[in-house]
Symmetry: C2
Subunit: 138 residues, 2 copies
Amino acid sequence: MFSIGALSRHTGVKVPTIRYYEQMGLMCAPERTEGNQRRYGRAERERLGFIKHARDLGFSIEAISALIELNDHPDRSCAEASEIAAYQLSSVRKKIASLTRLESELSRISDGCSGNGIADECYVLASLADHARCETDH
Amino acid sequence: MFSIGALSRHTGVKVPTIRYYEQMGLMCAPERTEGNQRRYGRAERERLGFIKHARDLGFSIEAISALIELNDHPDRSCAEASEIAAYQLSSVRKKIASLTRLESELSRISDGCSGNGIADECYVLASLADHARCETDH
DNA sequence: CCTTGAACCTCTAGTGACTAGAGCAACTAG
DNA sequence: CTAGTTGCTCTAGTCACTAGAGGTTCAAGG
Ligand SMILES: [Zn+2]
Ligand SMILES: [Zn+2]
Ligand SMILES: [Zn+2]
Ligand SMILES: [Zn+2]
């Protein structure tokens, strides 16, 4: 049994974040000492490790709730887990695509200005004022 | 002179967002009718167009404030504009790099599960429970 | 001129996933 | 036993909006 601080050190999840996950229902309310302090065991450490890894991979709290629910019921179909992972992958790909378009515009804009001129003739400011200079939509 | 709704249609910025920009100091408080409704002119439409374009390119409200300040003072050095654009470019590149790492893990995870099995043997759930299966850090 | 309905006004609260801080209680090492 | 760290709850703040309540003003048709 260890304290919330020890759990935090073991998992790399900050103390207030652990309490937040409890509030959100991701972590169950743990046992308490007589003095009302949280005490965790091995199962909770694993659960929090799962949550942290999923968060690091960008899954939302809601998605993680559903995944944990499945993890707690090993006999259920994993169709939902597959769906959630596929959805997460596709939204990451969409974000990459959109950021890549931004990157090409921004590199053009940034390259167009050395920072040695005056605002009136600045390529950055002119580009922001006029989307027609852009090569892609956004 | 046109109403906030007309300005919204011209620029593609939603009405509550325009009011929000005014509250944040990005847009100046416009003239009002006798009945207290906002009336805008050409200068304000251009300014809002500038803001929208910058937002579409991912600049923060704070960055846009600084850029507008420069735009309003054409004789100043554009060094700050150059810095802001370079910073924005570098943060977009960092995001792309991080999302690309996630993408490769997520595609491995997603490919590993057809959705036809049970939770106990699911590759998605097993991968989330154990970061050692990952090929990159995150 | 009057009515109707759309558009406008302000203000508050909610989103997601935390993070910071106040003010107090409990635990632990020396 | 005491000092210092860690813990507790609760509230409010972050970012860039978005939604809703409850009321007012505007523009067009009759
Ligand atoms: Zn410049
Ligand atoms: Zn553009
Ligand atoms: Zn599976
Ligand atoms: Zn991993």
